[in-house]
């Protein structure tokens, strides 16, 4: 497990470990709780991060656990905001409002992609 500010947990082996870090299209699933403050911040921070570092090569799916708790349970989401990066590398889960860009980039292995 990555022990960072955001406490990422990785699930090695679900995706090809050969996937090149920082390349390919990124798919994110962000679990939020309506418009609660951390959820709003997480949405904004993820959008900002994608437009800065992953322009044109990302997909974001927002799941509101207040409307769809079953999806959260299915994906083992315990708290919101939770970000699950599904592609292109192995699955990475980040907890928190994603305010620490440096830590988020490190967890997603995007450190080398700084503009």
């Amino acid at each position: 497990m990555r022990t960072q500010m955001l406490k990422a947990r990785t699930h090695a082996g679900r995706k090809s470990p050969a996937a090149t870090a920082g390349s390919g299209t990124y798919a994110f699933r962000l679990f939020v709780a309506g418009n609660e403050s951390n959820s709003t911040e997480a949405r904004q921070n993820l959008a900002q991060l994608c437009s800065t570092y992953l322009k044109g090569r990302h997909r974001i799916e927002i799941v509101d656990v207040l409307k769809n708790a079953a999806a959260a349970i299915k994906h083992r989401v315990l708290v919101t905001p939770t970000l699950i990066a599904i592609e292109p590398q192995r699955v990475v889960t980040l907890l928190g409002n994603l305010s620490d860009t440096r830590q988020v980039l490190a967890a997603l292995r995007l450190n080398g992609n700084r503009p």
Binding site: M1, M5, L6, K7, A8, R9, F31, A33, E36, S37, N38, S39, V65, L66, A69, A72, I73, R76, V77, L78, V79, T80, P81, L95, G96, N97, S99
Partner: protein
């Protein structure tokens, strides 16, 4: 007989996941906990923001009240000095005139001398009260010289030697900041005189990078944590509020062997400096 499916179970949460959740909760970055049958909202961050905002409002109110108190003090000081001071001076002159005019018999002369010395003492008291109410000396001399004078006055009034050290010269702080620091030092020295049972004290005013550090240290019996925590005790809250109003922090540490040390850190930018520090 139909075969019932086992109840759906949530995957077991590992220690690492639990640790990550606890960390996120601790840093107030969570706003909902997802349970098997319900979602519970956690509004810690909102509560913290509201609390911080209330604190800010209270601090702003305290600063405004303090500013009003300072101007009221200044007005009272002016009136005491001008009205009472003038009256006493006239009385003193009248007594001097009497001493030269009346028949110089011994009882009268003795009485006049005693009255004259009483009036002189009253004039000094009026002046002291006026100065304490309005540290006009801060305006005239600046903070450094005022604190040096305060250390001398403390020694003269209490008999406790008080050393003043500074690495500042040719520096002018803004009035509000100077009065804030002066009042903190004044309160700290009052505590030394009243509670510390000290035989010496040291006051310092130092520039450390971008911070102004003020300390008042004594070798007395040391403030205890109980005394420190007691509401309204030793004017600690007042000193703390003054430091906070200047964007600073205040710590008060007591030790039975080493006495009490009060330390205030204030960002220099909040003191609006002009002039050059060494």
């Amino acid at each position: 007989m139909s075969r019932r499916n086992p109840p759906a179970r949530r995957p077991t949460t590992g220690t690492q996941d639990a640790e990550a959740v606890i960390h996120a909760l601790r840093t107030n970055q969570v706003d909902a906990i997802v349970g098997d049958s319900h979602v519970m909202l956690v509004r810690l961050k909102q509560a913290e923001t509201n609390l911080e905002s209330s604190r800010d409002q209270l601090r702003a109110l305290a600063a405004r009240l303090e500013s009003q108190r300072e101007s009221e003090r200044a007005q009272i000081a002016r009136e005491i000095h001008d009205e009472l001071g003038q009256t006493l001076t006239s009385l003193q002159l009248g007594l001097a005139w009497l001493a030269h005019t009346v028949t110089p018999t011994q009882p009268v002369r003795t009485k006049l001398a005693s009255m004259s010395s009483l009036v002189s003492a009253s004039i000094r008291s009026v002046r002291d009260v006026a100065v304490r109410l309005r540290p006009g000396v801060v305006d005239e001399l600046g903070l450094v010289k005022t604190l040096r004078a305060e250390a001398r006055a403390f020694r003269d009034n209490t008999g406790i030697p008080c050393r003043f050290e500074t690495n500042l010269r040719n520096i002018t702080f803004d009035r509000e900041g100077s009065i804030g620091v002066f009042r903190i030092v004044q309160a700290a020295l009052t505590n030394v005189a009243r509670h510390a049972r000290a035989s010496r004290a040291v006051m310092t005013l130092m520039k450390r990078r971008d911070t102004l550090v003020v300390t008042v240290k004594d070798n007395g019996r040391g403030i205890t944590s109980t005394q420190r925590a007691k509401p309204g005790s030793c004017g600690v809250i007042g000193m703390q509020e003054r430091a906070l109003a200047l964007g600073g922090t205040l710590t008060l540490v007591g030790s039975r062997d080493k006495g009490t040390t009060l330390t205030v850190h204030i960002p220099l930018s909040r003191m609006l400096i002009s002039g050059v520090a060494p």
